[in-house]
């Protein structure tokens, strides 16, 4: 986007400058899921950055090697949390993918369809709703299985991995305004999202009810929309920036304590929208809070009812690595009487969902997920909590495939149960 290109490599200068922060120390390697699976330097953050820099310096050509690597990378940003030099890897990856997309390197049918869907369908609520209604009908008639047989491999994979679409009754939009219950503590805006209301409408309603029970009026402005994260991850920065501008305008108009988000991926995108659209994103970016972070900041208002559950909390990458929120959800969950929070190994590692990744790179996504499932099963919880739609679907489908009865919930669902429980016992 209008950026000056570095003379030699065809990569934007800001990308080149970003790669110079890396001192090649390697402290990020063990945090990287794709390195752990392959053991290869090129599938590590250090290797990817080295390759970007090499391309920018004209020491190696911009070709399918970089394109493939930029797609194999999960974009989970665990490397950022590990990196003492403060390399802004997420931005480097986005920029690289956008060059790959612009130059149409290794641009196949999957990329074309993905771009079309992310541009034309996902950000348009009505279209998305109808498309998913159609998918639901398909799934009801098991036509999706049939279609999968004659579609190209990663498209058929997409159909198989597609979540069961809930009935229309749970896919209603949220009310524009929900009053606070009990003593009023403030007023927040809520990001409804694009996929959340369609696939996780119940989680959205639980979030609003939880906020309201905690004493907050909740506004859901009509003018908001898709956050642009998926588009940016797919290298379509143009669409992402347009969507960010639209959201910034919608939220800037509101005088609220915070813009609360219950999907980690969307929260990260809104929080970083300053990097996309400059000063226009400042006010929005600074007010965004993940729902767990927000409730932790303002303090959970008791009393809380008992929820007896052996629970594992799994960090969504875009919450812990992109937003730096790790302790808040754990603190909230631990505060609920009856919750036994168990630790599982590598809770902060990616589950392999990573936006559209599990569709584009099914093999790697599977390998990354298997590692996650092994660790989860070893800790043997009754339930896993994680606050991102992609992760909810990925972990749930993985556990189901392994024949496990472990449930997967969004933390707000458990928190709400505790709040409701308390008011019932009080009555």
């Amino acid at each position: 986007m209008g950026e000056r290109k570095h003379s030699s490599g065809g990569l934007p200068d800001s990308l080149y400058q970003g790669t110079l922060d890396c001192v090649h120390c390697g402290l990020c390697l063990s945090a990287c899921p794709t390195y752990r699976v392959t053991g290869q330097e090129i599938a590590s953050p250090r290797g990817r950055i080295y390759l970007m820099r090499g391309v920018a310096e004209g020491r190696i050509e911009l070709g399918s090697g970089l394109a493939q690597e930029s797609r194999l990378c999960l974009g989970c940003r665990a490397c950022e949390t590990a990196c003492p030099a403060g390399v802004g890897y997420g931005a480097l990856l986005e920029a690289t993918r956008s060059v790959v997309a612009r130059e149409r390197i290794d641009w196949g049918i999957f990329q074309r369809i993905e771009r079309m869907v992310l541009r034309q369908w996902v950000p348009r609520p009505r279209r998305l709703h109808w498309a998913l209604s159609l998918l639901r009908a398909f799934q009801g008639l098991k036509l999706d299985r049939l279609a999968a047989r004659w579609l190209p491999r990663n498209l058929s994979g997409a159909l198989e991995l597609a979540p069961r679409v809930p009935p229309a009754s749970s896919r209603r939009r949220l009310p524009a305004q929900t009053p606070a219950r009990g003593e009023r503590r403030g007023c927040v805006a809520f990001l409804e999202g694009c996929v959340m209301p369609e696939l996780f409408g119940d989680v959205n309603r639980a979030s609003v009810e939880l906020l309201s029970r905690q004493g907050f009026e909740v506004l859901v402005p009509e003018a908001q929309g898709c956050c642009g994260a998926l588009q940016a991850h797919a290298g379509d920065l143009e669409t992402a920036h347009a969507l960010a501008s639209k959201n910034a305008a919608a939220f800037d108009a509101l005088d609220v304590d915070a813009i609360v988000v219950n999907s980690a991926g969307c929260g990260a995108a809104l929080r970083e929208c300053e990097g996309w659209i400059g000063a226009a994103g400042e006010r929005t970016a600074s007010r965004v809070r993940d729902i767990s972070e927000f409730l932790d900041e303002v303090g959970l208002r008791g009393p809380l009812g008992r929820v007896s559950l052996r629970l594992a909390y799994d960090d969504p990458c875009h919450l812990i690595h992109a937003q730096g929120v790790a302790e808040a959800p754990r603190r909230l969950l631990k505060a609920i009487p009856g919750i036994d929070l168990v630790e599982h190994a590598e809770a902060s590692a990616c589950c392999g969902a990573a936006g559209t990744y599990n569709l584009a790179q099914p093999e790697m996504a599977r390998a990354v997920l298997d590692r996650k499932l092994d660790h989860l099963l070893a800790a043997a919880p009754e339930c896993v909590a994680t606050g991102n739609p992609g992760c909810l679907m990925q972990i749930a489908s993985g556990l189901a495939r392994r024949g496990s009865a472990i449930r997967v919930l969004h933390p707000v669902e458990i928190l709400l149960e505790a709040c409701r429980g308390a008011s019932e016992t009080q009555r």
């Binding site: 922060d21 390697g26 402290l27 290869q40 330097e41 080295y50 020491r59 050509e61 590990a82 403060g86």
Partner: protein, 478 residues
């Protein structure tokens, strides 16, 4: 070339034999980024049998073999050589056996240092050598470099913790050295292989000693106005007869870089230096020891001493110390990490000289080091794209090493010689001293297949025309 790739692929499987331009490009260097060289192939074997097959093919076709772990080495040990095949050990990452009653673990070389300690923690054990790169570096790499870490002061370096090894030699034979039972009466060949920087063969299995987790541990942060007083404190702590587990100094420039990073620990930015002192052992003895260390520090001029309140704060101090090198990446695109040892008593004076050298060459120099061992790490921030600056960095580096040697020190404490310091070997060794090392190397690897250009000086030895050394110039230095 394709014959090579073809044969290697058949051994390790095509997906674990890398030969595309991009895949090779990223293996150009390890932690030392100057003078990158591309290999002709990279293989990732799954076990010793595959390593053996790979080595046999390389020997036969005349390709040097460069072993590699995580590539965090700072002396270019894993840097490829013209025409070489890199054998990347990352897939050999299984812990094969844990025997708590013997306090022994048997591991493949690609096991990550810190993950071994994590795996045995529930048995009340840990693996003592703890390089700052512990969260990523491999035990194979540690063995090759005889790596140390902050706790080397009390626990020793890698060599004190390796009981037995399996080594794949140039003809593909697998040699077993040492004994898991501990002491054996033959020549200490395990000791020879530890620290040989991948020049004798590829280590494919390691039996390491595990240590019991100390019952108690206390960590103290002493804050000084300058580095030299911190060094004096170290001297008097050691003189007092205490054996601390670690004594580490971080200077002001490094403190600020770390505090700007994700590894921040709340170190005071205005301090000239901080000393991290740790004692471990029976909990009843610790308060007294902490007290004495505090006294030594205050006598040397510490303006404040803080004891870590809990395990979380202690972990933060160590994360800050261990993230220090990487954090320097905030100052410039490249970092040259030096490594030299001087007698502890000479630390203050040598440090002053080092800082003077940095100023004279107009370089950004910082110090973060294992003070208890006298193991210095003067770090120079620079930009490798600036050829003139690189020259200054190298000239300053040489002077720093000369200064350390003149003070009775040596040119590496733990990072090894590799390619970085091979030409400095002559600062400490005469040709006659190097000869026995060459004999040993050639006894293990007569064809000079493994890391042939590492450790020994590139300039020809005068003894190559010496009849005593006949036969040892068969393979000329490249």
């Amino acid at each position: 070339m394709s014959v090579l790739i073809d044969r290697l692929s058949r051994i390790v499987g095509a997906r674990h034999c890398l030969a595309s331009a991009e895949e090779l490009f990223v293996y150009e260097c390890d932690g030392l980024t100057l003078d990158p060289v591309r290999p002709v192939a990279v293989v990732l074997p799954a076990d010793a049998a595959e390593v053996s097959g790979v080595v046999r093919v390389c020997s036969e076709l005349g390709h040097p073999v460069v072993p590699r772990g995580a590539g965090t080495g700072l002396s270019g040990g894993a840097q490829p050589i013209e025409g070489s095949v890199v054998v990347e050990c990352s897939r050999m990452d299984r812990i094969l056996e844990i025997r708590p009653e013997d306090r022994v673990a048997v591991v493949q070389p690609g096991v990550i240092n810190a993950e071994l300690s994590t795996a045995v923690a529930e048995l009340g054990l840990f693996y003592a050598p703890d390089p700052s790169s512990e969260q990523v570096c491999t035990i194979g790499g540690n063995v090759a470099e005889n790596s140390g870490g902050p706790h080397t002061l009390k626990y020793g370096t890698t060599t004190n913790h390796v009981l037995a090894l399996e080594l794949v030699q140039s003809d593909g034979e697998r040699l077993r050295l040492g004994s898991r039972a501990g002491r054996s009466r033959e020549f200490d060949l395990v000791g020879v292989v530890v620290g040989s920087e991948g020049t004798l063969g590829i280590v494919t299995e390691i039996s390491v000693r595990l240590s019991p987790i100390p019952e108690g541990v206390e960590t103290l942060l002493a804050i000084f106005d300058d580095t030299v007083s911190a060094c004096r404190a170290v001297g008097s702590i050691i003189r007092s007869g205490l054996i601390p587990a670690a004594l580490e100094i971080i200077d002001q420039r490094t403190i600020n870089a770390v505090e700007d990073s994700v590894y921040r620990a709340g170190l005071p930015r205005d301090a000239g230096a901080v000393l991290i002192a740790e004692v471990d052992g029976a909990p009843c003895s610790l308060p007294g020891e902490v007290e004495r260390i505090g006294e030594c520090a205050r006598e040397a001029g510490a303006r404040e001493c803080r004891v870590a309140r809990d395990e979380a704060e202690r972990a933060r101090f160590w994360r800050a110390r261990k993230g220090a090198f990487g954090a320097m990446g905030r100052l410039a695109p490249d970092l040259y990490v030096h490594d030299a040892v001087v007698p502890r008593a000479r630390l203050p004076e040598v440090l002053e000289k080092i800082c003077e050298i940095g100023d004279r060459y107009q370089l950004t120099l910082s110090n973060v080091f294992h003070a208890g061992d006298g193991n210095l790490h003067p770090n120079i921030s620079f930009d490798r794209r600036n050829a003139e600056e690189v020259e200054r960095v190298i000239a300053a580096g040489r002077e720093i090493l000369e200064t350390c040697v003149a003070a009775g020190g040596v040119i590496t404490g733990e990072h090894g010689i590799g390619v970085e310091k091979r030409d400095y070997m002559k600062l400490v060794f005469e040709d006659e001293d190097l000869l026995p090392m060459l004999y040993v190397r050639d006894a293990f690897d007569p064809e000079r297949v493994f890391n042939p250009t590492k450790i020994f000086p590139t300039t020809r030895f005068c003894f190559e025309s010496n009849p005593r050394a006949r036969g040892y110039d068969r393979v000329p230095f490249k």
